[in-house]
Each structure stands twice: as structure tokens, then as C-alpha cells.
Symmetry: C2
Subunit: 409 residues, 2 copies
């Protein structure tokens, strides 16, 4: 019987591991709790109605259909029993493995303030993105119907908590929607008067970037109409707004981009975790004491490796290669991260990029961002549709997916 390899989670880490094992002499099972892989760098475009959900996602079993050794299962893994080499699903059934790649990623994390969650959705899944999209669109609709000026102002105030890449993208795009997309479509309100506030706890936005690029990002955000509040700590979020120490901001729409924590699945391993709940792995990405278990992507704590898609892909592929080495009795190799730089987009023609020693901002950075994303989307069949949607959005400022759907199911 061929060795059984199980990959849990089909984000960038899991999918790249599964692909790298596509021709290996193993019996591969890929498990995810959704039926699709999401191109997460464009999730903010779904949340801001620029793209439809299917445009940035693909059915996992379709992506992997050509791999004859691969079975795809929809299911939620609740725990890993590393001693027994077995996984337990939500329905109590079990799945045994000889090798395991754990790529369960992260979940939204409210720093112990879970009561904030219903008022400030995070952006991790397509469901989150459609929820945020509906909230944004409904806020403008409610403002149009509201007669009380204070309540109307609260419907027209959008607070994004967290000035990392996701927060910067959301805030910049929100400002564009208010200033351009919705222009001329309302009669009782002027969407241009909408207020977008980006709150960041540290002293600058995009903290992992060089200070000079953070400054350029802030200037570009302000040019788009975003109010940037650095060095502000959120102390409360409720249905009517945000509290920041002594300050209070009345806002009916609050988006959470301030933090994620590693999947709780990591805790079931019984291994040492870091402060964010990530699993401290060996140099070859394996679980200490379990050379047959590999942790990749955002669930793995590896010094100097950021929580971005290219890093997850590299880890996924590396774990797969170490499994292939194991199959022929060879020891695994240590993981080395290849840093291709980092990119954050802010809005039309506005972005920052760091590629080695090269620092870009404004139009050149935005073009780099665009070309990079088109290149990486080429693995998806949807690239043509995405390109047309982008081209359309660029020339017209229109956002075609401005559809509020409340799924009853």
C-alpha cells in the first residue's frame, strides 16, 4: 500500500504542497472546510464590490482533478492526534495518515475582545467579504433614508481598525467608492461626505515596511480622502461606534484588520506555540518529535518569514519535497525563505512596493502590484474575466459587483 499523505487546509501553503505531491507515489488526501481555494490578495476587492466571489476563487477538486493520486474531501478537521497519526473530523470520523501537512492558516483575532466581532467583521473568507460588502452598501442606503443628521453621519462614517496591508487596501478603496463610484447616484446624501478613518495602534501604517514607504502610503491615503489616525488604541467597539481611550467615534460600519491568530488546530498538537498561537517548527518545517508532520503557511512560526502568500507557497512546496525525500529514506532539508519583496495597494495608481533595495510608490508601485497579481492569477481560469473587470473599473470607477445578497441558507 502506498504511503498516505494528508494535507489539511487548501490556502496557498496547502495547495502548493498538494500540487508538488501530484505525481508522487503516495495516496494523497486534501481536506478543506470550504470547497474552494481563494486568491486572498484580492479578497478586499470582493469586499469592496470590485470583483465577484467566483472571480478570485476556484473549486479545489477542479484545480486538483488532474492528479490521479489525489482525493479531495470537504470537511472540518477538529483535532490532530500526532501520537496515533490520525485526524478527527467534525462528525467524529477519523482519517489516518503516514505523513501530514498542516496548513490551517489563521482566524480573526480580537485580542480577547470577542464581543467586538459582530460589530467589526474581519476579512478572512469569501463569506466575510460578502458580509463586509453588504454592510458597506447598506450603510449608504440607510444614510439615504435617514432623516436625523447625527444618525446619517454615523451611517456615513467608516472605521477601519488596523493599518497593515489589508487595512490600507480597505480604507483606500472605501474612499474611492465614496468619492468616485457612487457619485451622482444619491439624491439626499452626497457620498463624497463619507468619512473613512484608518486607526493604527503603532506610530505608522504598514509597520513592516521601510519608514519612508509608510510615510508615502499615509500621504497617498490622505490624498484619497482617508483620515489616518496612528498611535491610537481601540478600547471598545459596539453597534454605534468605536471608543479610543478618551475619544469616541460614532460609526455604523467598523471593519477589523487589526489582527489574526493561528488556527486553533495548532493547539491540539501539544507542541510549543509562539505568542500568536503559531507552532514552533524544526528547521525542516516538521513538528518537534514528529518528522512525519509538517506545518506550513501562517500556522508555522519561522523566524524572519512573513505571513504572506509567497512565503506560504514556498513552505508548502518545501514540505512536499521533504516528504518525497522521506519516501526514499533521505533526511529532510532546512527551509530557506526567498524574499521577493512586499507590495501593498492603496487605490487607483496608489501603492507602495519594496523589492530588495528598490522602493517604489505611487503609479510605478501600483503597476508592479497589478502586473504581479495578473501574473499570479494566471494559474486561475478567471484571469480574463478579472482583467476585464479591472480594466472596466479603472476607466469608469464603476464597481460591478455592488450587489447586496443576504443568503438565507
Amino acid at each position: 500500500m502506498k504511503p498516505r499523505v494528508v494535507v489539511v487546509g487548501c490556502g496557498f501553503g496547502g495547495l502548493w504542497a498538494a500540487r508538488a505531491l501530484g505525481r508522487a507515489p503516495v495516496e494523497l488526501t486534501v481536506v478543506d472546510r470550504t470547497n474552494h481555494h481563494v486568491f486572498t490578495p484580492l479578497l478586499y476587492q470582493v469586499a469592496t464590490a470590485g470583483l465577484s466571489a467566483p472571480a478570485i476563487s476556484g473549486p479545489i477538486r477542479h484545480i486538483l482533478a488532474g492528479q490521479a493520486n489525489t482525493t479531495v474531501l470537504l470537511g472540518e478537521v477538529q483535532s490532530v492526534d500526532a501520537a496515533r497519526r490520525s485526524l478527527r473530523f467534525e462528525d467524529g470520523s477519523e482519517l489516518a495518515y503516514d505523513y501530514l501537512v498542516l496548513a490551517a492558516g489563521t482566524v480573526n483575532h480580537y485580542f480577547g475582545q470577542d464581543a467586538w466581532a459582530p460589530f467589526a467583521p474581519g476579512l478572512k473568507t469569501l463569506g466575510d467579504a460578502l458580509d463586509i460588502r453588504a454592510r458597506i452598501l447598506i450603510a449608504f442606503e440607510r444614510a439615504e433614508r435617514e432623516t436625523d443628521p447625527a444618525k446619517r453621519a454615523a451611517w456615513l462614517t467608516f472605521v477601519v481598525v488596523g493599518g497593515g496591508a489589508t487595512g490600507v487596501e480597505l480604507a483606500g478603496t472605501l474612499a474611492e467608492i465614496a468619492r468616485h463610484t457612487l457619485r451622482g447616484e444619491f439624491r439626499r446624501i452626497d457620498p463624497h461626505n463619507a468619512r473613512v478613518v484608518l486607526v493604527e495602534g503603532s506610530e505608522r501604517v504598514l509597520p513592516p515596511y521601510p519608514r519612508e514607504l509608510s510615510e508615502k502610503a499615509r500621504l497617498q491615503l490622505e490624498r484619497l480622502g482617508v483620515t489616518v489616525w496612528p498611535s491610537k488604541l481601540v478600547t471598545g467597539i459596539d453597534a454605534d461606534g468605536v471608543t479610543l481611550g478618551a475619544d469616541r467615534l460614532a460609526a455604523k460600519t467598523v471593519l477589523w484588520a487589526a489582527g489574526v491568530a493561528a488556527s486553533p488546530l495548532g493547539r491540539t498538537l501539544g507542541a510549543p506555540l509562539d505568542r500568536q498561537g503559531r507552532v514552533k517548527v524544526e528547521a525542516d518545517l516538521s513538528l518537534p518529535g514528529h518528522p512525519e508532520v509538517f506545518i506550513v503557511g501562517d500556522l508555522a512560526a519561522v523566524e524572519g518569514v512573513p505571513g504572506i502568500a509567497p512565503a506560504a507557497k514556498q513552505m508548502g512546496k518545501h514540505a512536499a519535497n521533504n516528504i518525497k525525500l522521506g519516501l526514499i529514506g533521505k533526511p529532510g532539508k532546512a527551509f530557506r525563505y526567498r524574499d521577493y519583496g512586499q507590495l501593498a495597494t492603496i487605490g487607483r495608481n496608489a501603492a507602495v512596493a519594496q523589492i530588495g533595495r528598490l522602493h517604489l510608490s505611487g503609479y510605478p508601485a501600483w503597476l508592479t502590484w497589478l502586473l504581479a497579481h495578473i501574473y499570479f492569477l494566471i494559474n486561475f481560469r478567471n484571469r480574463l474575466v478579472v482583467l476585464i473587470d479591472w480594466a472596466w473599473a479603472y476607466w469608469t470607477y464603476n464597481r460591478y459587483a455592488r450587489i447586496i445578497i443576504r443568503n438565507p441558507g
Copy 2:
């Protein structure tokens, strides 16, 4: 002050009325409980994962943004007080009118068996379509994980109740998904073995069509792999299947295409209704005793006018023109339906069409259907994306929107 015209509902009837009033010297308010108009003839494509929801819909306020006399409001009208010429919203607020166009359409109707609704969703809204899409995709996923053969067969049995145009479209497309789209993507089941049963109460599918075309539709359905059960009355639907008198069909997925009823808003008018709850209107489409109120689309009972999009458009435009005549003191004209024929699609290269005395089936009918829908989609910006998606789906049998999203909001 200009006369206040209110249009309630923005399907084909309401939207065409609103457009026809775009340059009239009135203060026009368009109310809908969603923010979008849906191209309903393609709703079955969203339900069967061929198209994304935004591809067949457009934001109402964007469509009408160019009409300076028009205000769009998101809201749910709960009752009409024709005597006081006022509408009441879900939040208790009111809206007065001088002229009213009521285009509230239909709702799913279970012939008094509302307990069936959770087990057999109908297809009226984008939310319905995404719910049905998720149920279909989850059924195949559950079958892949199921080890009990009887339960597995129930997950692979799909029952469509109702052999009208929607039922025929859903059944034909479901059979195509099982036989072509999902081929090679599962390891433990063969989707080809899925059973699609179309149940129709009368003796033939597509009852409003000529008998010869009904027969051709049945043959095309059977060629696609659909089991057609005419003259079968459903007597029970539950979580595990459908009861048809003495027969029982174990099925985890049941779709309801057997009937709709007029919107309950019609009942609040205090006017005579027909058996389906539609309002019996005057020859000029006005409410008896209320020449300032017009009923259009599926909510209006007009002898010899079918419940299809072209009829609703014609009524909407006609009501708008009668209002314009009223503004200059002239009497309204009687509505005359122009019959351009009827079209129903079944699957790839399979359809039936009746255009006057011309009866088509198979490829010619399908091509007619395709060209007609492309033509009518031209009012939408999404036509290019839709065309690409269709071309892709045609050549590859792939359905790119196979994404299960459970919207938490």
C-alpha cells in the same frame, strides 16, 4: 410642486416603468427591498454555478443614476393605503404618492404546504440561487464522504418539482453538471450516476407550449439523462425525500419550481384578486376605482398575458405612458400585449421555442435563445463577462462559479 410618482419593485415591470418616466416632469421614487435588478431569465445559471451573481444583476441606483428626477430607496413596502394615497414601510415610515406603479411580482408558493419550504427552496432571488447552488454542490461533497450506499444514493438524487420553464432549465443543467462538469473530479463516487428526476403534475412538461414542443423538450431532457415523471402529484417533502402518493423517492436535494403566488402586497389594496392572488386590473392596468394606481408585471391579472419578462416590460412601459397621459389631462389607453413568442432552454444545444407559428427545437432553438438573451443583456454592462463565461462553459463544460459560500451576515 411636481406630481410624486412612486414605483414599488424593480423587476422588469418596475424598471421599465421607471425608465419610461425618466424625463417626465415628475418627482419619481423607486423602492425595492434589494439594491439590485436581476436578469431573472438567467437566475438558473447562478443557481447551477454557471454565472456569478453580479454577472446577471445591476445596482438599481446605478442603472437609474442618469435620471435627475429619480430617487432610489432601499426598503420593504408592507402595505398600500390607496384611499390616503400612501405607502407604509417596514420601519413604520410612510411615503405619499400622486401616482403609484405597483410591480411587486411574485413569491414562492407551496400550495398551503409551507412546511415544505425549508426542504425545497424555490428560485426567485439571488439569495435563493446561491442557496440552491450551495445545496447542489454540498450534495456531491457529502456523497463523496458517505460510506452507507443508501445514504450515498440519496445524496446523489436530485428532484425538481415542477415542469415549467424554470424546472426544465434546472433539471437539464443538473444533468449536465453530473455528466460533464464534475467528470473526473471525484474518487469514491461517479457523478455520472447521479439521478435527476423532474416531477410534473400535469401530463406533460412546459404545459403552456404546443404539445409537439413539450414532447421534444421531454426527449431532449431524457437524452441529457433526466428522468421525467409527468402526471405525478407531490404529497409530501421532508429532509430525506419526496412522497408522491404511494411512491417515495429518497433524495437529499429537492428544488421547487412548481408554483409562485402574487406578492402579499396585492392583498393590502382591498381589490378583487384572482386565484393566484393577482390583482384584477382595468383595461388600462389601473386599480378599479383608483385611476392613479397601476399594477404591472406578475402582480397584475390580465387575460391572455403570460408571466414572462417581455410581458412585464410592456406593462411597465404602458403604465408609465398612461401616467404621462394623465399628467396632461388625457385618459389612459387600454393595454395590448404583443406576443413575441416563448423560449425555454434545456441544456447545451437543447431548447424549444415558439415564435408565432414557428416552432423550433434542439440547436436552432438553443441558438435563438442564446442570441435573444445576449441581445437583452446588452442593457447591462456585464454582457462581455457573461459572454466569456458562456463561451468558456460551452467549450469546456466547466462551470466557474462552483463556490459554496455560506454568508454569515
